[in-house]
């Protein structure tokens, strides 16, 4: 019995230490602050569009203590407009998070981005550079609408939000998942990889995650709009790690957190 108590105490201590260490190291740049090499302009509004989402990768204290890193694939180390080096450079898996919602070098029409073009979503690196290892999870309850050859998976949530997961390994996506119900934070949709255009290693190893909602334009018209996710992802990640010190007021992520780096 004494051994079990000691082992249990050690386990609790280890987990607490791990969470504390993670809290010490987690930081994020302000919403809309792009990579310093990027000449585009970001979307600085702090609205939390998806307050009830869970982080789309398995992370946190209940997720094998795995981390995630939001930053640029293009302007990061090993990126096409980056600082040189390799995509697996450890510096890509450290440092403060950066928003890529309005990232430059992208051609998608983006009404909310100051330059009216942008990235549509945010790029998420997993805990490490390994392919086909880290699991992507359903961000909310809903069902899967489509999986393409390009391994774009479209998840329709019950609240009307539609999110896409890109670049996962095709063999990691359950074969019969289209049309199936998925459970928030539980259903594994696939594993983070490096597929694009139906080609292995067509990009870098990361998850592109974007979400849209249908907006009423009046006169019986409506349209889909990609919504900014950065603040929602920060809160979902903080929740996975049980971080304290972040708050939401009037649907916006409050300023002044010790996690935020200007």
């Amino acid at each position: 019995v004494r051994s079990f108590v000691i082992i249990g105490a050690c386990l609790v201590t280890t987990l607490a230490a791990s969470a504390a260490k993670a809290q010490d190291t987690f930081c994020f740049h302000s919403p809309g602050k792009l990579n310093s090499r990027d000449t585009a302009q970001g979307y600085t509004d702090r609205t939390v569009f998806l307050p009830d989402m869970v982080f789309p990768l398995r992370v946190g204290s209940a997720g094998n203590n795995l981390h995630a890193h939001l930053n640029s694939q293009i302007f990061g180390y090993g990126g096409s407009h980056g600082l040189g080096g390799d995509l697996s450079d450890p510096r890509n898996f450290a440092g403060c998070w950066q928003d890529t919602f309005c990232e430059g070098m992208r051609n998608w029409p983006m009404p909310l981005c100051p330059l009216h073009v942008g990235h549509q979503g945010d790029d998420i690196r997993a805990d490490g550079p390994d392919e086909n290892k880290y699991e992507a999870l359903a961000f909310n309850d809903g069902y899967v609408r489509l999986v393409t050859k390009n391994t774009t998976l479209v998840l329709a949530a019950d609240d009307g939000t539609e999110c896409r997961y890109l670049h996962m390994d095709p063999n990691s996506i359950p074969a019969d998942i289209v049309g199936k119900r998925v459970k928030k934070g539980e259903t594994v949709l696939g594993r983070v990889s490096n597929w694009m255009g139906g080609v292995h290693r067509g990009t870098s190893t990361h998850l592109h995650f974007d979400c849209s909602q249908t907006f009423d334009l009046g006169s019986g018209k409506s349209a889909n709009l990609h919504i900014p996710l950065y603040t929602s992802l920060i809160l979902a990640y903080a929740s996975a790690w049980n971080y304290s010190g972040l708050s939401v007021q009037s649907n916006k992520l409050s300023t002044g957190s010790t996690f935020e780096s200007p």
Binding site: D52, K149, M196, F215, S244
Partner: protein
């Protein structure tokens, strides 16, 4: 702030946002076409019409009219290379109209459904969605952004995603068809939204739904 306080704040925000995040659009149940289809008990969701999978019964019980392209019409949609379709390749590609994995799914509240057209051709997929709820803007959109909204909704052509979207109002509700082109051979089908529009044009009333 303690985590418990943060949680309370967060939940309060969630309740607040949920209260104004959705507009419930209503079906125009008096529409003549809908009335006659209901009287005739139209149901085109059978396997005899090419629909496979387990979603047909689920769709038959939705609280909104279900429209979609019959599998036999998919070839006609994507083989169209006439005026307005100049950007598409002149290929008589092998558009599959049989053995196509069509999947129907509906939300538990029966206020939304989608029909997935998986693997119409190699690197070509699509789905059509009908919904009765529409999210409204949580923050006022800048006027310029609102003007761009319709344009941004039509096509997505960049390295990561090539897709085209078309939407129209049917029976008082928004219906949308999305075409996904995930191979260099099929990118031209997403260069503009002509094929997505064509899907909407070919979509027929598959079942009138259940009035609640």
């Amino acid at each position: 702030m303690k985590f418990s306080n943060m949680l309370v704040t967060w939940l309060a925000a969630l309740v607040a946002t949920s209260a104004w995040a959705l507009d419930i659009l209503q079906v125009d149940w008096d529409n003549k076409e809908l009335v006659s289809a209901r009287e005739a008990k139209v149901d085109l969701l059978s396997t005899g019409n090419g629909f496979e999978g387990s979603g047909a019964s689920e769709l038959a019980s939705t609280k909104l009219p279900v429209i979609g392209v019959l599998p036999s019409q998919l070839g006609a949609v994507f083989a169209a290379a006439s005026s307005g379709f100049e950007s598409a390749p002149k290929v008589s590609n092998n558009f599959r109209t049989s053995g196509l994995k069509l999947i129907a799914a509906a939300l538990p509240n029966k206020l939304e459904y989608s029909i997935s057209y998986q693997h119409i051709a190699d690197g070509l997929d699509a789905f059509c969605v009908g919904k009765r709820t529409v999210n409204t803007a949580r923050v006022p959109l800048p006027a310029e952004a609102a003007q761009m909204l319709a344009k941004s909704a039509e096509v997505e052509n960049d390295d990561e995603v090539h897709a085209a979207h078309a939407q129209q109002s049917r029976y008082g509700l928004p219906y949308r068809c999305d075409v996904y082109c995930s191979d260099a051979k099929t990118y031209p089908y997403c260069k503009n939204n002509a094929y997505a529009v064509r899907m909407l044009e070919k979509a027929v009333l598959l079942t009138p739904g259940i009035r609640d």
